[in-house]
């Protein structure tokens, strides 16, 4: 048995800035779930969300030397991710591609890979419960697609990621007042959609 240091996010970020690839890979492992959640809620497509997270993390690696406060790595990379996701949604809207039918998490998973709430190898999971889980996620993500991308990213960072108003404002490069306004409008739109879909 050997003593292994318990390495926190700040230390990992400092080591990664020093060029330690393994440290950055640990940061990837730690942050990918959070980033995937943000990306999926903004783009509502598993494949696109994966692309967004990949692009964000590779960009983070390239720009790591610009990160002044290594302890803020998590918020910094979440900011990159939300911007990347919002840019993608904007581009898609501009092209009016309405992307070949949004790819449900269930359908997007590769053979042998997981679907939301039904991971590969979790065959013992109750199918009824899985369906319920999917329904909750899909309902929310589906409602969000009808919300303006700027409001959506703001709302996701605050309500899904749990970011403070101030950090959300920094992430989106807007004022705190703007954040509060956007979240309020997003909430209103979401509540209205929920009523319409009932």
């Amino acid at each position: 048995m050997t003593d292994q240091p318990v390495v926190d996010e700040r230390s990992l970020a400092l080591r990664a800035q020093d060029g330690d690839i393994e440290a950055f890979e640990s940061l990837v492992d730690r942050s990918q779930g959070r980033l995937f959640r943000i990306a999926y809620m903004v783009v509502h497509d598993r494949a696109d969300a994966e692309d967004v997270v990949q692009e964000s993390l590779v960009l983070a690696w390239r720009r790591l030397h610009l990160l002044d406060d290594p302890a803020a790595f998590g918020g910094w990379v979440a900011r990159i991710c939300s911007r990347t996701a919002t840019d993608l949604v904007r581009r898609q809207a501009r092209r009016a591609t309405d992307a070949a039918e949004h790819q449900d998490l269930d359908l997007a998973a590769e053979p042998g890979e997981a679907t939301l709430g039904g991971s590969a190898g979790s065959g013992s999971r109750d199918p009824a419960r899985t369906a319920e889980v999917n329904a909750q996620m899909e309902a929310l993500a589906g409602i969000l697609t009808t919300v303006d991308p700027e409001l959506r990213a703001c709302w996701v960072l605050r309500e899904i990621d749990g970011m403070a108003y101030r950090d959300t404002a920094r992430a989106l490069d807007v004022s705190e007042q703007t954040v509060r306004g956007r979240i309020s409008r997003a909430r209103t739109q979401i509540v209205d959609r929920m009523e319409e879909w009932r």
Binding site: T2, D3, Q4, P5, D29, E50, V53, S119, T188, V191
Partner: protein
């Protein structure tokens, strides 16, 4: 509470306030439920709420292909002539030297050089290395730890690149816990 500009114009059987309250409650329930479900899936390690292994592999490959090697650094000449090594390699050398000291964890290193370098992409011989490290909370003698780290770094420089006289500064700027594996 959700503030809706249209809340008091929405048709319904109950009062606008009551309908708003019900809608707000449904909204909050949905958020709470989504948080709870997603959190449970994450905690159980469910692959569906994480990046696929393929995506992680792509990130690893991209990162490794995009390593910033930094400037070349002059090293003491050998019998075969002068040579340089990258800052990236030099940092790796320092990190390994720090990490092998019990109770020390390398964080980041910075170098100062003499003026033998040629331009921005080639630095001179390292004259000083400033090592930022973290110490184990179980370490009772930080001065001793700093001395052991300094010795380890000096030995690594001497043995691996025959760099014998740089000043080695040790900055202990953090503490970390140890766990037994």
């Amino acid at each position: 509470m959700v503030h809706s500009e249209q809340s008091d114009r929405r048709p319904g059987t109950g009062s606008p306030e009551t309908e708003d309250d019900v809608a707000t409650q449904r909204y909050l329930d949905l958020i709470r439920s989504a948080h709870r479900e997603w959190g449970e899936l994450e905690r159980s390690g469910d692959a569906s709420v994480q990046l696929s292994e393929q995506a992680r592999s792509t990130i690893r490959e991209s990162v490794r292909a995009d390593v910033r090697h930094g400037a070349q650094v002059q090293m003491p000449p050998t019998a075969s002539g002068p040579y340089t090594m990258s800052e990236y390699a030099l940092r790796g050398l320092v990190r390994r030297a720090v990490d092998q000291v019990d109770g020390a964890l390398a964080l980041k290193a910075r170098f100062e050089h003499d003026d033998s370098g040629r331009g921005l992409r080639e630095r001179g011989l390292p004259t000083r290395v400033i090592c930022r490290i973290s110490a184990s909370i179980e370490c009772r003698d930080l001065q001793d730890l700093a001395d052991r780290v300094r010795t380890s770094v000096r030995e690594a420089f001497a043995e691996q690149v025959e760099l014998r006289d740089p000043v080695v500064d040790i900055h202990i700027e953090d503490l970390h816990e140890q766990h037994v594996r």
